[in-house]
């Protein structure tokens, strides 16, 4: 905890507290539709934060994070439906399995010098592997999908994660906040500085005596395990899982758009990106609804254009210039706050 307030300016802290307070009271004012939108935003903010540990901090581009989402979702859902195991207990095997999956990919890649784009391809390959595997895994429904009994919305059962969107909202808010704080602490820890060194120059980091294999492994395993918790929420909120959707590459891409658009390697990037992207996408949906246009794919084209524009004109993402505008970068805490 000793790093908790390191490099956080007073204005940033005040802004953060206001932001959190606003999100905390939001469900009391907003209608159900907007709460679901906010849930989507918080989900992407959380998952994006987890992905950011790998790419933003340690510089390892993963395009297969749907794998960890899917593993978390399937493990806890199967334990709950088949054996009545509470998701609060089910998350532990989920964390372990996702962590091991991350470790296997990391080990294969980092031991044999697979990096950069090759590493990204390897992560896609494993996610695709899982997608096809789960398509044939009839114990959890195979390609026909796996379903959780639909919740009774009048009563919140936090222990079994059955309940109203409001419950999921607060759960995700807590998760996103904790992930944010964890990443803030990580960035100021020894591991965080090692990761940044590896990201900037693996050769130089190694020359300085950093065990780059070990620290890259830490990043992958941590990122994978934390991402799987997002999958738990995904399973229990949507109540249905299809390998074709859960593990699909478009899921992985959707998940990383937030941090890229917000700003890779920044703490606010994933949050800002999730708000921007989901907010704009919902706005677009609303406009299309008004116009009576119903075309599948429009949302994705829109995502593509957003990504293209940001990558071309704001290579660092939206947050770094925004931060400057807000005057939050005066006390430099590195690329962090």
């Amino acid at each position: 905890m000793k790093y908790l307030f390191d490099g956080v300016s007073r204005s940033a802290l005040i802004l953060l507290v206001f932001f959190f307070a606003a999100l905390s009271v939001a469900p009391m004012i907003l209608n159900d539709y907007l709460i679901v939108v906010l849930i989507t935003i918080l989900y992407f903010a959380y998952a994006g934060q987890c992905w950011n540990i790998m790419m933003g901090f340690a510089g390892q581009l993963s395009l297969g994070h749907a794998l960890y989402i899917g593993l978390g979702a399937y493990v806890t859902a199967a334990l709950y439906v088949k054996f009545g195991v509470s998701p609060w207990i089910g998350i532990w095997p989920a964390l372990v399995i996702a962590g091991v999956a991350g470790a296997v990919i990391g080990f294969l890649a980092f031991r044999f010098g697979v990096s950069g784009v090759y590493f990204a391809i390897l992560t896609i390959a494993f996610a695709e592997f899982a997608r096809i595997g789960f398509d044939h895994f009839s114990w959890v429904g195979g390609s026909a999908g796996y379903f959780l009994p639909v919740a009774n919305y009048t009563q919140n059962d936090l222990f079994n994660l059955r309940g109203s969107p409001r419950m999921f909202y607060y759960l995700l808010l807590a998760m996103a906040a904790l992930a944010f704080i964890l990443c803030h602490i990580l960035l100021r820890s020894r591991a965080g500085y090692y990761w940044l060194a590896i990201r900037e120059s693996p050769e130089a980091a190694e020359a300085l005596g950093i065990n780059i294999f070990r620290y890259k492994m830490y990043a992958v395993v941590l990122s994978a395990a934390l991402t799987s918790l997002g999958g738990v929420i995904f399973a229990f909120f949507y109540n249905n899982l299809f390998p074709e959707q859960v593990f699909h590459i478009s899921r992985s891409i959707e998940l990383i758009l937030g941090p890229i658009i917000g700003g890779i390697g920044t703490l606010f990037g994933p949050i800002v990106g999730a708000f921007l992207l989901t907010g704009l996408a919902e706005g677009l949906r609303e406009i299309m609804l008004r116009l009576g246009v119903d075309l599948p794919g429009v949302k994705q084209v829109f995502y593509g254009i957003c990504l293209l524009v940001v990558i071309m004109f704001l290579p660092e993402g939206v947050w770094p210039p925004l931060k400057k505008k807000l005057g939050l970068d005066r006390d430099s805490g590195g690329k962090g706050s």
Partner: protein, 297 residues
């Protein structure tokens, strides 16, 4: 059927293996495009499969509107794709040449996303195919029956690939492109127009997928969503064969085509991708430079 076949006759296995190799040659041509682009421009074309689906839909449009045979459309479709690749490189990718790898990669992910879903909006999600006059023809090689369409497709792919080899070996432009690939600064110093050569290379790579896509329409159907799968396939082939090695792309294509055909036959068709990924993992582990690739330090 009254009796269960326990032993698969050798003719059947041969037929499967040969059609796997023939399809693999077309895959090889597709992967060749990726390999050429990466070898010269040093940009990983993550929109490769998506560009191929564009070519495949072009074939469908031409076929339904004008009734042209895919073999006739080989040249025009390749030309259109060449123009697409040339313009993409010139307008969008060129400013990214000196950007970090992941930045280029995300740029092409964005382009791929727009292509897949653009096709989805225009053509809808259903799979579409064409039936040519020789769709149901076949050759009988001593009891082994081979689809005529596959033979034509593989043959055309081989011709295009050989033309490409000849272009890079024999023409001045081809040599200039290889010079850019070998030594970027050296090429600049001797006064080569690197920007133009890069755009040309991207166009050539795109023309390869154009030709491969046209040939694939003879043997298979297309949906907008298939694009990413072809991109991955091209990557698997190129990494297996050896990145930057032109013969490697063809060898990798044949290997993957053969593996997929046999895996699809012995297990289930949907499991075939798992086997090619298995090969990818093995290659990355034991021979990261690929089958035909040169070892780098």
């Amino acid at each position: 059927m009254l009796h269960r076949i326990i032993v698969v006759p050798i003719e059947v296995i041969l037929k499967i293996a040969i059609s796997g190799v023939l399809t693999g040659l077309v895959y090889g041509l597709m992967a060749l495009g990726l390999s050429v682009i990466f070898g010269v421009v040093r940009v990983v074309n993550f929109a490769h499969g998506e560009m191929m689906t564009i070519a495949m839909y072009l074939v469908i449009v031409f076929f339904t509107a004008l009734g042209f045979d895919p073999l006739v459309m080989l040249v025009p479709v390749s030309a259109v794709l060449f123009a697409l690749g040339y313009l993409m490189q010139r307008a969008i990718i060129n400013p990214f040449i000196n950007r970090p790898e992941h930045s280029q990669f995300m740029l092409l992910v964005a382009i791929a996303l727009i292509m897949v879903n653009g096709l989805l909006i225009v053509f809808g999600p259903d799979s579409q195919g064409i039936t040519t006059s020789y769709s149901f023809d076949s050759f009988d090689l001593g009891g082994v029956i081979i689809d005529a369409g596959k033979v034509y497709a593989a043959f055309a792919a081989l011709i295009v690939a050989s033309l490409l080899f000849a272009f890079f070996r024999l023409t001045l432009t081809g040599k200039a492109i290889r010079a850019c690939a070998d030594n970027y600064n050296g090429a600049l110093v001797v006064g080569l127009d690197v920007k133009r050569l890069y755009a040309l290379t991207f166009g050539i790579g795109a023309a390869c997928v154009g030709a491969a896509g046209t040939m694939l329409m003879i043997v298979t159907d297309v949906t907008p969503a298939i694009g990413p799968a072809y991109t991955l396939l091209a990557f698997v082939i190129v990494i297996t064969g050896g990145l930057g090695s032109m013969p490697g792309a063809i060898v990798g294509g044949v290997l993957i085509g053969l593996t997929e055909a046999l895996a699809g036959f012995y297990f289930t068709p949907s499991a075939k991708t798992m086997f090619s990924f298995g090969i990818l993992v093995l290659v990355l582990l034991f021979r990261p430079q690929g089958i035909m690739g040169r070892k780098t330090a």
